[in-house]
Amino acid sequence: MAKGDPGASTRGRRATPRSRKAATADPELVQLLTPAGERIDSVTGPDGTEYRVDFTDEEYRGLYRDLVLVRKLDAEATALQRQGELGIWASLLGQEAAQVGSGRALRTQDMAFPTYREHGVLYCRGIDPIMPLGLFRGVDQGGWDPNEFKFNMYTIVIGAQTLHATGYAMGVAMDGKTGTDDGEAVIAYFGDGATSQGDVNEAFVWAGVFNSPLVFFCQNNQYAISEPLERQTRIPLYRRAAGFGFPGIRVDGNDVLATYAVTRHALDNARHGQGPSLIEAYTYRMGAHTTSDDPTRYRIASEVEAWQAKDPIARMKAFLEREKIADASFFTEIDEQARREAVDLRERVLAMPNPEPGTMFDHVYPNGSPLLDEQRAQFSKYLESFEGSAH
């Protein structure tokens, strides 16, 4: 997929149509693709870092495909919940660019620690999108192998994964796996609400003082369930990093290109041993917090409409069309692929077997325990006391 390393060969790279520098309306926001789909050549951050991407046409199209597929699969999961096939679902609608941009910026060796909403990052890590659905359907624990995919388990507890990530990143540094171009970096995902948690602030302290190779990636979707951002902070979230002694930057989280550039830069800093940083991906949760939530009770429609105009996919499509990187048949093909994958996902979810009650004992300890064995035996005896019992 998209590589776009700064400084890589420019052969086959598309020259940025309009050479503009840091002309974004909001000086605090790194943006390479405006809501109207106009490219900005490069942006210079507050510390002098120049952010830019150089993608091939194929890579641009690939990012678009990712965004559309991730949105479609997410919508299908929401529908499945409404139809009683999932217990709950946390939709990522509106946050596709923040997740795809950062997810594609990860290198194979990098480790990611998600919340429960990082379906887009999970997709970029090459994990079958069916995996989290088992968790939300309540038939398994969402069991992908975190080591195989370098993507930790979904963490429901708000902000807890930032501490896990910090410990992991400290380990990476202690193992001497940083300091080179091929070094390892760690990314921890969390939301604006989590920044009020003690865990996240402790993680900031530890990662800072141990100079850990960690990128704190905050998707600021403006709401901690129903609590608006102004109840979380008096200053822009990215500026909190200064107090902990590492850099912070705000990026347009609905701009997949800027998110990619900023995340790639922060990860590279981490892998080179330059310590942690905080990225605030400024975005918006277009849907409900989860399927149990009704956002119309605390948000006004005009706010949602204003963000609708900043849609991450629409701007990418406008860009691809304007630069003739993709034509109508491409978009049709992507939509059809998304539809097929959604149908496939639905069929596989409906076919998920219900687990045998006895399997609840399987993964408590890696090597079992005598007490558990006893409980398992008692339980199966109890179940057998029913005639014709399959379970």
């Binding site: 149990s292 009704d294 006391s385």
Partner: protein
């Protein structure tokens, strides 16, 4: 699998038990696509659109808009293969043939217009309510897996034979669609709680208790969440006499006094009671209530009423003390418009019209219909409106429109013979007046204690809007009118 599929209302948000059908977005006969929004449902947590689980044709809609449906109840039936022609009985040869009686029931399903096509609720033979095929009040024991070692009598309780006729009540079908005999047996049966019969729900310790006590779980009706069987259900069943006999009215004197469930009555909270409870709780815990009392000598007013009754044009009109109270309230509102208002969060809505609510006790419970724009009515019109309103309420024909939009309410607790009370505001209103009994009491009148007709007024108001001063002035004006209506009329109008 059957081509007619029923979609059960899912738990839309972690542990919900019911949802209200807000709006159907499709109708019977519509062709729908997968994931097309079909219905809006409001739960305790959110109002959401439910997307269709299958593509196909809408075969039946089981619940009209506005009904509250339990989670797990079928709400819509979809023909997933409408192109395959009429639904033949032969396609379901593995299922019991519908009995003649159930087919007969199909034929005499309510005529078009009796109920909205596709909706349940129409009358059916045998005094039963028509429901969709295979879904209706349970008349047989739920099928269940017998416990090994259960007593033979209990083990054979589950009927092996096809379900009796009553198990397949009449469907209400869209006119052109053939009777779908197919789902008769395939559709879930429903137990006494209106819940789909599946495995008997009970926690493991309860199952063990039932086993120890020799109680057949399948024969019980659960009172726990989701109709599950509780420890109390099992204990009650174990304590019950083996042969069901009519409960003796008199308890033998020798019997030990019981303070358990056998001497308690459980009444499901629904309908008017449920609505009343919700409204009262909401109002009591959102609007800070203040109640003030005023005792008034209404002797003159009662005499004025008598004179009114004597007038020829008022001969056939029902003239009650409540009429004067209503008039007093309406005139006092004109002098203090602020009391006729609604707290709307960040603003106060003061209304120029008074929709005067009159709380009425009916067989269904408390209802509060209101007289629209009562402030514009003459006294005669007001009297007629109040008479009509009470009669409608007593006959149970009060429409929702009659009960909505009230702005200020009077509750006549005096008819129950009590003096006063601290009424709770109907939600959205800022004042409510309790009118107590009119009694002959010793009263200081012109310097001497005399028997006079006296009543007590109790006014509750929303203290967010109405300060003590305004509330007091309003109540005082009502009292002044009732003390001397003629003088008040002359002075104020």
């Amino acid at each position: 699998m059957s081509r007619i599929k029923e979609f059960n209302l899912p738990d839309l948000g972690e542990g919900l038990t019911e949802g209200e059908i807000l709006a159907w977005l499709v109708k019977v006969g519509d062709t729908i696509e997968l994931n097309q929004p079909i219905v809006e449902v409001e739960t305790a947590k959110a109002a959401v659109e439910i997307p269709a689980k299958w593509a196909g044709q809408v075969q039946a809609i089981f619940h009209p808009e506005g009904t509250t449906v339990e989670v797990g109840t079928p709400i819509i039936a979809i023909d997933t293969d409408p192109g395959a022609g009429p639904i033949e009985t032969s396609t379901t040869t593995d299922l019991p043939t519908p009995s003649a009686a159930s087919l007969a029931a199909v034929e005499v399903a309510p005529a078009e217009g009796a109920v909205e096509p596709g909706l349940i609720g129409g009358p059916a033979p045998g005094g039963r309510t028509a429901v969709l095929v295979g879904y209706g009040p349970r008349t047989t024991a739920a099928k269940r897996r017998p416990r090994k070692g259960a007593t033979p009598a209990q083990a054979s309780a589950a009927p092996a034979a096809p379900a009796p006729v009553q198990a397949s009540p009449a469907p209400v079908q869209a006119a052109p669609a053939p009777a779908p005999a197919a789902p008769v047996a395939a559709a879930p049966t429903v137990n006494g709680n209106g819940r789909a019969a599946g495995p008997v729900l009970a926690k493991p310790p309860v199952r063990k208790l039932a086993k120890d006590l020799g109680v057949d779980l399948g024969a019980l009706t659960g009172s726990g969440p989701l109709g599950s069987i509780t420890r109390e259900d099992v204990q009650r069943a174990a304590a019950a006499p083996a042969v069901a006999e009519p409960l003796a009215v008199t308890v033998p004197a020798t019997a030990a006094a019981s303070f358990g469930a056998d001497r308690e009555q459980r009444i499901p909270v629904k309908g008017v009671r449920k609505l009343t409870a919700e409204n009262m709780s909401r109002s009591a815990f959102t609007a800070p209530h203040v109640t003030e009392f005023l005792t008034v000598d209404v002797t003159r007013a009662m005499k004025a009423l008598d004179r009114l009754r004597d007038r020829r044009e008022w001969r056939d009109v029902r003239v009650s003390p409540l009429l004067l109270v209503a008039k007093a309230v309406l005139l006092a509102v004109k002098r203090h418009p602020m009391v006729n208002s609604t707290w709307a969060g960040d603003e106060i809505v003061v209304k120029e019209y008074v929709n005067l609510g009159i709380a009425a006790a009916t067989e269904r419970g408390l209802i509060v219909p209101n007289i629209k724009d009562a402030g514009r009515l003459t006294l005669r019109e007001l009297a007629d409106a109040m008479t009509g309103l009470v009669q409608t309420a007593k006959s149970g024909k009060t429409s929702p429109a009659d009960m909505s939009g009230g702005t200020l309410t009077i509750t006549n607790v005096g008819v129950f013979g009590v003096d006063t009370g601290t009424p709770i505001l109907p939600p959205g209103e800022s004042a409510i007046l309790a009118f107590g009994a009119v009694r002959e009491m010793p009263w200081v009148h012109k310097g001497k204690v005399k028997p006079r007709l006296v009543t007590t007024l109790g006014l509750s108001f929303d203290h967010r809007i109405i300060d003590g001063e305004l509330g007091s002035k309003f109540l005082r004006d009502i009292g002044d009118f009732l003390a001397d209506p003629e003088a008040a009329l002359l002075a104020w109008t």
